[in-house]
């Protein structure tokens, strides 16, 4: 399995290097969908030059990174490209091994439950086999490296796990905690997240301003309530999914990406990279086609409507806001669809796949 992973990494690094040197780099690095005020490389450079001028980077409202970033990039500013590529590659490798680990855990658990006769007799086709799970880690690494992460890389901050954890760090500790309680061996992903939590979580001392949920929602004077949604679902999800911590983490990351202020493409890419892990849920998804269409169309319309508002002056901010909202609706429905599929599979596993109603006809399952 090492060879395909190495191949993936090499291709990813090549494409990133090519993009860095192309003329697209500057164009993409300033796009609003890719960079947010919290994760903009331009602001890091600004902070460092303020430091050179003898002014504290935190005396203005431009620089919002942690002091750790200052220390790190003070010496590495000339090798920033390399740093980002290496970080992305490391993230991909970490995810690869984490998912591999997770697969082993899943398989072991499945075997245990089979022996304990917890599953219904006719659910053979729902049982996951090592064969089908063989390529999942690679797919995850692939998805992490390739699609939207390019753009995030060009925004010049590795938008993978570290930056994603810039803002809402606390909701991710419950899943990590649950996972460690369950398994004696420390999952790699866990460790990685924990380390990132500590490293990136040093408070910058003052001033992270009130994070208005997406720039446009700043119009609403009391928009803090939207931000509460990030934390609001943690406990109920923890209670419901206490036996499935990785799925819990997946849902939590998705919720953070949806309700975060200044969401970017990188946040979305992070949870979408985990889709191969839940491939087996595909047969239970109800609206996947519509939702995929929504997400693709909204992604295409984002830059168009931004251009129309800011540059052409013909549309107004309502258009951009509407497309943001539609994209969020699409994400919400996608995540709840996956959640539904997961719960449904669990039900089938314990109650049998071919259910019949009392009168012998095929049963309908409803949530009640």
């Amino acid at each position: 399995m090492a060879a395909p992973l190495v191949l993936v990494l090499v291709v990813a690094v090549t494409v990133r290097a090519a993009l860095f040197r192309s003329s697209l780099a500057e164009f993409i690095s300033e796009r609003v969908e890719v960079v947010s005020p919290l994760s903009s490389w331009k602001r890091v450079v600004e902070g460092l030059s303020l430091l050179d001028l003898g002014v504290s980077p935190y005396s203005g409202a431009v620089f919002h990174e942690t002091p750790l970033i200052i220390y790190l990039f003070h010496f590495l500013i000339d090798y920033a490209e390399l740093v980002f590529m290496i970080t992305d590659a490391l993230t991909a490798i970490a995810l690869y091994f984490a998912i591999q680990d997770f697969n082993k855990v899943v398989f072991k658990k499945q075997k245990l439950l089979l022996e304990l006769d917890q599953y219904a007799p006719d659910v053979a086709e729902l049982i996951r086999t090592p064969m089908e799970m063989r390529y999942i880690p690679l797919k995850v690494a692939l998805l992490q490296c390739f699609p939207q992460c390019y753009f995030s890389c060009l925004s010049d901050i590795p938008v993978s796990v570290p930056t994603h954890l810039v803002c809402p760090r606390t909701p991710l500790s419950p899943p990590a905690a649950v996972h460690t309680c369950e398994n004696e061996e420390q999952s790699l992903l866990d460790l990685f997240l924990g380390v990132c939590h500590d490293v990136c979580g040093k408070p910058s001392g003052n001033h992270l301003p009130l994070l208005l949920p997406s720039q446009l929602l700043g119009f609403h004077p009391r928009s803090l309530w939207l931000y509460i949604n990030v934390f609001f679902y943690t406990i109920p999800l923890a209670i419901k999914l206490k036996e499935h911590p990785i799925f819990f983490m997946f849902i939590q990351i998705a919720v953070i990406a949806i309700f975060k202020s200044y969401p970017t493409v990188g946040d979305v890419a992070l949870y979408m990279a985990f889709f191969p892990v839940w491939n087996h849920l595909y047969r239970f998804l109800r609206n996947i086609f519509v939702l995929t269409c929504i997400i693709i169309v909204c992604s295409l319309l984002f830059p168009v409507l931004w251009h129309l508002w800011i540059y052409a002056g013909s549309a107004n901010s309502n258009f951009f806001y509407a497309i943001t909202l539609t994209f969020n609706v699409g994400q919400i429905l996608l995540i709840s669809d996956y959640f539904y599929a997961f719960l449904r599979r669990e039900y089938y596993l314990t109650h049998g796949l071919y259910l019949t109603a009392k009168d012998g006809t095929e049963a309908m399952l409803v949530l009640k």
Partner: protein, 529 residues
Amino acid sequence: MAAAMPLALLVLLLLGPGGWCLAEPPRDSLREELVITPLPSGDVAATFQFRTRWDSELQREGVWINLGRSSVMSSQGSSAPLSTSSTPPTQSLPLPPSNPWVWPMTLTTTFCAMLCCRGRWSAPKTSPPGRSSCPVVPRASLISFHLLQAGLSVLLKADRLFHTSYHSQAVHIRPVCRNARCTSISWELRQTLSVVFDAFITGQGKKDWSLFRMFSRTLTEPCPLASESRVYVDITTYNQDNETLEVHPPPTTTYQDVILGTRKTYAIYDLLDTAMINNSRNLNIQLKWKRPPENEAPPVPFLHAQRYVSGYGLQKGELSTLLYNTHPYRAFPVLLLDTVPWYLRLYVHTLTITSKGKENKPSYIHYQPAQDRLQPHLLEMLIQLPANSVTKVSIQFERALLKWTEYTPDPNHGFYVSPSVLSALVPSMVAAKPVDWEESPLFNSLFPVSDGSNYFVRLYTEPLLVNLPTPDFSMPYNVICLTCTVVAVCYGSFYNLLTRTFHIEEPRTGGLAKRLANLIRRARGVPPL
């Protein structure tokens, strides 16, 4: 409109001399002066200056200076001069626009309190000055003047002043030494008003002008309490040939000096000279052109500047200042002070200064970044301008999205950016002899420089108008409704999935629709469902 408040102060301060004429403590002195300068384009510039000097030893902390109808309080020690002035943004002219300077803030609020100003003091909060003067407020509207009754202030008639193409007011307060060893100090208050009259309006196409045509008033009597009350008319370039122009009434004396590097001649009319006004009970200075003046290009000053915003779209832009040094062989340093409002986020790592195509590093740079809604950016640099060159100072910025309550009633008009202030000692081509400052007119002694080979110049660039990304103002309602809907969708889905479990649905036996359908079927004679 909020800017009108400080204007109220300034205007009322300008009442000083007039109200002054009515009641005055005996140990202070007032000098007033009017300088009329015809500009090369044919417009006429008139600058009033009123200087009040108090020779009493004033308190260090907290000083009340009673000017009759208005009062000025200086809350700093004696070492803090205060200048405040304002000018609406009009086309650039060779006269200094003013620099409203609201530092210290305590002084400002004191102004407001004493003059019973109601309303919020919402001038942009500026930071204390670095090495040069303070930042500027770009836009102010002039409000009405009260009429004054004696001396030069009789010319300040509001409706004529509103028809000018440029006006600017300033107030300067500073301590001055009373003697050479500076053992005691006096306080000096200078109030100035500069206006430029459009030649076309005043002269109906000809370049003749007269006081009556410009101000619709003439000078009748001097202010009885003024120790000096004079009118100076610039007759420099046209003095050689008496056939070119005629000034009426003919001046008794002239004054020659090196002003801003060039030798100028002024005709003096002294209102305190009884012979001046005795004849006709009023003084209406007129200038008539006997021969139309040649339209020669005005001489290019040694230092001039231009500022503009480039870029497209409402996301970012670039602010560029061009500094021209047209002196053929002398290079000199210029102190450039830029105040940029917080909603244009400057990126100081993109600051580039190029002269003649090569990079020019500033000798001194002081940058204070802005804090959102609290203070603007302050950028101050000392730049060496090479001889006969153009220096371009450019910096990139990003436009911020304001909260919806912070937009003005007409947000698509744009937001003003204050002018940059350039201060320099410009080398002069004319050597001058040292002068006694008490004998020289007020306009020459405001910024005294004893070295005649240089003269001090404070230059202001154009104020700029930038657009910010403007939201649609129906958005708050839309945002609330739609965001609540989306959050409800999310909450509903998650609530269902979290609190409900799967059950096999039992087929329902009854149902109103089914029974009704069966009823109709029975009526038709078809087997029931």
